[in-house]
Symmetry: C2
Subunit: 277 residues, 2 copies
């Protein structure tokens, strides 16, 4: 369990607000690992060993494990158990359902006795409203990370609809702000939306924002920091493919470390720029 | 694989548009089954055997299986394999993500070679737009069932927001109508919203609507039919708890059958009323 204060402490200590996204795709990992009995876990293990001092969070993307059915889920459980306890563990699951179903998903991802896994945080889709979030908040100290503004082109389909409470993504933030505070809720805001950060910071000045879209998706770290950083940093910036697939040779873990180090050093500059460290 | 025409045929043949929801909760199944090596699958198997001639679809709710981690997912795979091929198999997963992640979820639920499961249809959350749906439509003949108006009180949080294209749920239907036709897309509309069916039928006259909320959640079948039925029936009405937990004794399967039969007979009346059969 990582509290808001512990998260801020980790950021200052590691001079980093990097989240390594474990979107581990069997077709993209080095060929020599594929004969391993548990190749996805083996890959993750080596990535984690190579990056754990450079990042403050890990985020396995559930889809990449579910793709392989039972065997894939076992790799996710193994990965969960291997995650360093000083890093925030985020399951990127984007669940969202009625109250009684949300309770079951909460057990799947937050209750180790039930499922073998107990992540610190989960990403959630807001469409079904408060019922999609409450069951997770019932676990003391755990985090609900709610989709606000995502990074793909099709985020415009609905998130930018004009509503009587502003854009839909603004209405989501305003409403979810009433469900719990910045110590329990974060928002997902894509890095490709850097100008919107100004707007989002008006609505959620204190919240941590989970920011995917750096690297492969083309967002700029400098812009995200300029417009999105708050006095506690308030950003967890995710990079998946650019780090974990930096090389597909035998040196993949070293290459991932080199890439993570590059991002960490940029982050250090940004943290120093505003006097957080 | 069940096409629109086959679905309509099944409805006429079975005089039913019932979907049995397999929200199978280990804490609610009869005590004598709990010592079974695969209790959730054993329960489902007996429910399926007892109801397959009375319903046209089965809908396992992924959360209830994921709750138990690897073991639960194995029960879901076993259940998938046991589902009768003449019934539409719907995985109630409410996924919704970026394109490259949606492709992975599509493999999880639509590609048996990858995951052990290949359902005919999946429920999807629309918040992230078209990317959340396209990857599933890429599987010929399979169905995307998009959340429009859900049945819980908190559906009001966002689905009834006034947007410049009507209520949010109306904007979702209008936009998703442009992604594929009534032969590939259905919408989820809660049974507790019967007056809104009139409105929804203006936007989606030909689509099948998946309607949860009958039974335990208090929706009226008669109202749903009055306002929501179209010339092909156009409704798949789900009941979960009221059927599968009709008894928690040794007679649970017979009790489930009796309950399903009651609903099927009401459905027959409704189908006869409008001359579909």
């Amino acid at each position: 369990m990582i509290s808001r204060q512990q998260l801020i402490q980790q950021i200052k200590q590691k001079k980093s607000f990097l989240c390594v996204g474990l979107d581990t795709d069997i077709e993209k990992i080095p060929a020599f690992l594929r004969d391993h009995p548990n190749p996805i876990f083996e890959f993750n293990k080596r990535i984690i060993d190579a990056t754990r001092d450079l990042c403050i969070a890990y985020k396995p993307n559930a889809a990449f494990y579910e793709k392989h059915g039972v065997k894939g889920l076992q790799s996710l459980v193994d990965t969960y158990k291997y995650l360093p306890k000083d890093c925030l563990s985020i399951i990127d699951a984007k669940r969202g359902d009625l109250g009684n179903t949300s309770e079951m998903y909460a057990k799947a991802f937050f209750d180790e006795a039930s499922s073998g896994m107990s992540f610190d945080a989960i990403t959630l889709a807001p469409y079904m409203g408060r019922d999609s979030v409450d069951a997770y908040l019932a676990y003391p100290g755990k985090w609900a990370i709610i989709l606000a503004l995502t990074s793909s082109a099709s985020s415009k389909d609905f998130q930018y609809l004009h509503t009587d409470r502003g854009y839909l993504y603004e209405a989501v933030i305003q409403k979810a702000n009433t469900w719990a505070g910045a110590d329990r809720i974060m928002y997902v805001v894509g890095a490709t939306k850097s100008l919107e950060f100004v707007n989002i910071r008006k609505l959620a000045p204190d919240h941590f924002l989970l920011v995917p879209g750096i690297g492969a998706q083309g967002g700029s770290l400098e812009d995200v920091c300029r417009y999105g950083m708050n006095k506690d940093c308030g950003l967890i910036v995710n990079s998946s493919r650019a780090i974990i697939y930096a090389s597909n040779g035998e040196d993949f873990a070293e290459a991932a470390r080199a890439e993570a180090l590059k991002v960490q050093q940029q982050m250090q500059v940004e943290l120093e720029k505003v006097g957080i460290i």
